[in-house]
Amino acid sequence: MGSGTGLGRVRGLGSSHSGSHHWWLQRVTAMGNVVLTVWLAVSLLRLPSLDHASVISWLASPWAAVPMVLFVLNAFWHFRLGLQVVLEDYVQGGMRIVAMGLLHAWTFGAGAVALFSILKIAFAGTN
């Protein structure tokens, strides 16, 4: 930290050009997950049944669909950040680049399917 410009020292970012942003976002999304996962668990356990009709009529309501969309965005963001740290710890060299690519594909692929499914149910209504 002794070298470089004064501005660089104040920012404290070093040669990586980034600092605690990843770490902080993981805490922010974790806090979101505290609320959203409890909401999801309680909502599902309160349903009269988990058959198709019950789940569809529940998820068709904006009061369920919107938090469910938020849950997918927040939880998937959180797992994307977390798995990145795990891969950086255990996978080296060129394999790490492949692993990061697969992580992106898994996050955005599964995320798109999950979000589309929620929106389809929400927009189609209970019929």
Partner: protein, 131 residues
Amino acid sequence: MARNTARPLSPHLQIYKWGPHMAVSILNRVMGVGLATVGVAAITWWLVSAASGEAAYDAFLKCAHSWMGIVVGVGLTFAWLLHFFAGIRHVFLDAGAGFELNANRTWSWATLFGAVIVTGAIWLFIAGKGL
């Protein structure tokens, strides 16, 4: 980087005596990986099957109600709760609190027992309600 193998390495984790804080730490990571892979696959399949109609959803339910599905369900419930409680513990550790030996041990055990007890309570509720 080439390492001179004639020179000793400094010791790593194996020099420490195992304690509950180490168990919670590695379990938190393992459960996080489990949630990010098996958990995400399960919840995505649940959503897409619900959006695909009753036949697809019944195929999901049949799988979920098999003994394998129940094992995965109980496992994911435990993984969620352990990661949940360990995450809350981490917020305090991040703030610099709870590193005293006794406090650290107490909250590590509380994280483990809390996850086991709440998992049991949720699945007793599910069994009682017949979900």
